[in-house]
């Protein structure tokens, strides 16, 4: 303590006079005016100790721990598919906002990263659109990372385990700076039997530097985060007549990412006024290579490269909350994101035969002739420049009247987007027997699409402080998920256009020509949700509870449909409506050296209206949404002289989950058990952790590609041993 004070004193004196000083508190990552105890929505908090005990180091680890949250661990770091309260989809915009140190992460591709220095995770459930805006329709997840004011000692962590898992991380606070660095390696859990090698290796490093200080009466915090990773993934096994096959595909499946985020916060406080300003720059460069057919046959591949740059600015002015009846907060927000995407789809020999020639020649009588394409590969190049901009004006007033607290808020949110597309398909063809030699042929497709939307996001809530330990609340709020463009469907559009143009070039016209959507069909509007919720919060001694029940009405739901014509993919469109009814429970009981937690969620999410172009699924449960999530943990710390023995066990379950809209494929409720034993000394600890001890191999993801069905399975049993040292 004396040492820390001495260091901070030295730093204060070392700083230029009257410019920079070390402050004892960090900038809040939440925007709410009230204390977390009185937020009129369910709140989940996971602290650093629990993150360390459970080994949660990526967002997928929060599945079930946060009731109703399901982020299946499959694919690669790119595929952060988030399902929450019956909402979510695997493509495009997320239903949950992610804030790291108060900065909104704009790109869903950057949602999944290693969390070594995260000291607190806070989840606000339900639409938080009034204060957090776009994509916070299901809730907001905020992470607070290590800060200089945390005053922790330098730490080094080493962990080794199954599948070549190796993690090395270190953190240190040096004056006004907090530094952390992480490296993780994994050989991989799943074997690609075609290549006879693991398909999901991982190598990644992350660096974070946070600085806190003050200039006169303005508190400042700057956080610079950089990550670089290269991994395999896409451990998808074919589902063949009810049998799960092993992973077997021939083309490369990999994902590489470099991201850089710098966020600056400034906070100015006077007696009655608090002004918060934040700005960020976000750069992301990634590349995904995918065998799109996931079979040993060379059908087609995708290489998607993104170069994204984004910036955000927010200014909030609020009244100092202490002892006031009316606590208003007004803010403005603006963001711009520019994303350059190149996504060439390569049709390989088998794909040319199966997906192009077989369809074309099926309509041409053999006695007339047949189409031949001699190319080994047909590249369908798709280049996009997508700009997205958003501006918002918001206000929220909190009124505290005795035991009652009322909140009224409104956000005026304007979002626009532009897509400049430039696509080209090139091939050689020959019609046999009429053509004596092959002919070069290409189809360009270029243009610009723009759209914009104005959304009003109101919120009304009432909270009653029923006693020292109990709060009751009811909230009605609206959230939205941004609209966008289906870039994924352009290879289908080009494929169909090429076939039609080629036939026209030949002078052959099919009675049932290939029908294709156009770029105009690739736009989709925002999805909007009204959430009606009531809940109770209880805090008494070592016991705490969060109980809530909600009803959500979802309009303009972003759903995937089959485009008309011969398509290999599906496209997002505002195809339907759904509703979710649910309940969430969180219980904590931590008497003495014992600790326990329970999270449970029930969600009945059903389509009110949904026709995917082929079938009507109205009334059916929404797929990929677990009806229940359950998480139970129990632990005990046994004092042993100068150290203690910590034993913890965790049960995590989800299900039943339906995998398709027709509900013909379903996984029952499945649970896995993790456990940890640690010997903890004042300056170091060693631990052994077991993950998925029951070796549950339940499904975590399902999809169809060119008529084949695939499942991804849960990662198998793993053991890890580690040591943490504090210097």
């Amino acid at each position: 303590m004396i040492k820390a004070l001495l260091i901070s004193t030295l730093l204060i004196h070392a700083a230029p006079a009257d410019t920079v000083e070390l402050l004892p508190a960090t900038v809040s990552v939440l925007k709410e005016q009230m204390s977390i105890e009185y937020i009129p929505s369910p709140v989940s908090v996971v602290r650093a100790a629990e993150l360390s005990q459970t080994g949660i180091s990526r967002p997928q680890g929060l599945s079930s721990r946060i009731p109703g949250l399901y982020i299946p661990d499959y694919g690669a770091s790119l595929t952060a598919t988030i399902y929450l309260r019956g909402m979510g989809s695997r493509m495009d915009n997320p239903v949950m906002g992610l804030y790291v140190d108060g900065i909104p992460i704009l790109d869903k591709n950057a949602y999944v990263f290693d969390w070594e220095d995260v000291v607190r995770v806070t989840m606000l459930h339900g639409p938080q659109g009034t204060l957090y805006g776009r994509n916070s329709m299901g809730g907001v997840l905020t992470l607070r990372t290590l800060s200089p004011s945390d005053r922790t000692r330098p730490a080094l962590n080493l962990e080794y385990g199954t599948a070549g898992h190796l993690r090395i991380s270190a953190s240190a606070i040096i004056g006004s700076n907090a530094l952390s660095i992480t490296f993780r390696h994994l050989n991989g859990f799943f074997q690609n039997t075609y290549k006879n090698e693991p398909c999901d290796p991982y190598n990644g490093a992350a660096l974070r530097w946070k600085w806190e200080g003050a200039v006169k009466s303005v508190r400042l915090q700057n956080t610079l985060s950089a990550t670089a990773s290269r991994e395999g993934g896409f451990a998808y096994g074919k589902w063949d007549n009810g049998q799960q096959k092993r992973v077997s595909y021939n083309d490369e499946g990999s994902y590489g990412r470099i991201s850089l985020i710098d966020g600056l916060h400034a906070q100015f406080r006077r007696d009655a006024i608090v002004a918060d300003a934040s700005a960020s720059i976000q750069v992301l460069s990634d590349q995904m290579k995918m065998d799109q057919d996931f079979t040993p046959v060379s059908v087609f591949t995708l290489q998607q490269r993104q170069r994204s740059m984004a910036g955000t600015v927010e200014v909030r002015i609020s009244r100092n909350a202490a002892e006031k009846v009316w606590i208003p907060q007004t803010g403005i927000f603006a963001m711009y994101k520019r994303n350059r995407i190149t996504a060439p789809v390569n049709f390989k020999r088998a794909g040319i035969e199966e997906l192009i020639l077989s369809h074309a020649n099926a309509h041409i009588p053999p006695d007339i002739g047949h189409l031949a394409i001699p190319d080994e590969e047909i590249p369908v190049n798709s280049n996009f420049l997508i700009g997205t901009w958003n501006t918002a004006l918001f206000h929220e007033s909190v009124f505290v009247l005795g035991k009652w607290q009322f909140t009224a808020g409104l956000r005026l949110d304007y979002e626009g987007a532009m897509m400049d597309y430039d696509c080209l398909a090139s091939l050689h063809y020959q019609f046999i027997p009429t053509m004596s030699s092959e002919k070069s042929f290409s189809v360009p497709y270029a243009g610009v699409k723009r759209h914009d939307h104005l959304v009003l996001l109101p919120k009304l809530s009432a909270l009653y402080r029923a006693g020292s330990f109990v709060s009751l609340y009811a909230t009605a709020s609206k959230g939205y998920r941004s609209g966008g463009f289906n870039t994924q469907i352009f290879s289908d559009i080009l494929q169909n256009m090429t076939m039609n143009a080629l036939m026209r070039d030949l002078g052959v016209y099919l009675d049932r020509p290939v029908v294709s959507v156009t770029a105009g069909n690739t736009e989709y509007d925002p999805e909007q949700a009204w959430n009606f919720e009531t809940g109770a919060r209880i805090r008494k001694g070592a016991f705490s509870a969060e109980l809530s029940a909600y009803a959500i009405v979802l309009r303009d739901q972003q759903l995937t449909v089959f485009p008309p014509g011969l398509s290999t993919g599906r496209m997002m469109t505002n195809a339907g409506r759904s509703r979710s009814l649910g309940a969430e429970v969180q219980l904590d009981w931590m008497p003495g050296n014992f600790r326990s937690h329970l999270s449970w969620s029930w969600c009945d999410a059903r389509f009110v209206s949904y026709h995917d172009g082929n079938s009507d699924y109205s009334g059916n449960p929404v797929p990929y949404i677990p009806k229940h999530t359950l998480y139970v943990s129990a632990g005990y710390s046994l004092p042993l002289g100068s150290c203690r023995l910590e034993i913890d066990a965790f049960l995590r379950g989800t299900g039943p989950v339906s995998w398709n809209e027709a509900n013909t494929l379903e996984d029952p409720f499945r649970a896995r058990i993790d456990a940890r034993a640690a010997l903890v000394f004042p300056q170091w600890e060693i631990y052994l952790r077991g993950e998925n001890l029951t070796d549950s191999n339940g499904h975590v993801f399902y999809f169809k590609s060119i008529g084949n069905e695939f499942f991804a399975n849960e990662k198998p049993r793993a053991f890890l041993a580690g040591i943490s040292i504090k210097f």
């Binding site: 309509h363 041409i364 009588p365 006695d367 007339i368 002739g369 020959q430 019609f431 027997p433 009429t434 053509m435 004596s436 002919k439 070039d505 030949l506 002078g507 052959v508 016209y509 099919l510 009675d511």
Partner: protein
């Protein structure tokens, strides 16, 4: 009303030109044009009509020969596709009233190249005013076309 006025003016201009020259009647000069009409294929002894078929008439630079492209023709009712067929090397003979078309035998072009299966024989026809008529045999299929110039 405007169309009638233009037609009258055009007719008057033609009349003045003809009177001014006072020379023997010149043969009709072939010019590139498109026609719409009906292609009738005799299939198994019965006529099979392809209606609203577009036909391009494209004379060569010397005006002595031409090609005819029949768009989206179906030779037999069961054909699941329609195709474009081009008949090259048609001999033209201009008279004062019409252009006579003839071709004894030629391999048509379709689907990117020569299509000998439907070799054209015995083609004869004429362009008189705004009308194009011709008959021929596509392989074993007697075929005829009668149509009017497009855009009238």
């Amino acid at each position: 009303m405007k169309t009638k006025f233009l037609s009258a003016a055009f007719a008057a201009a033609l009349l003045l030109t003809a009177c001014g020259k006072a020379t023997p009647e010149q043969p009709v000069v072939p010019e590139e044009s498109a026609y719409t009409g009906t292609v009738t294929v005799i299939y198994e002894g019965a006529p099979f009509d392809n209606e609203n078929i577009s036909v391009d008439f494209t004379p060569a630079e010397d005006g002595a020969s031409a090609s005819i492209t029949i768009h989206q023709i179906r030779f037999v009712p069961q054909m699941p596709v329609t195709i474009d067929v081009t008949i090259p090397g048609i001999t033209l003979l201009g008279t004062a009233e019409k252009i006579l078309l003839s071709c004894a035998r030629v391999v048509p072009l379709a689907m990117g190249g020569e299509y000998p299966r439907y070799t054209v024989t015995d083609l004869s026809g004429e362009i008189a005013g705004d009308e194009l008529v011709f008959s021929l045999k596509f392989g074993d299929y007697p075929t005829s076309f009668a149509g009017r110039r497009q855009g009238l």
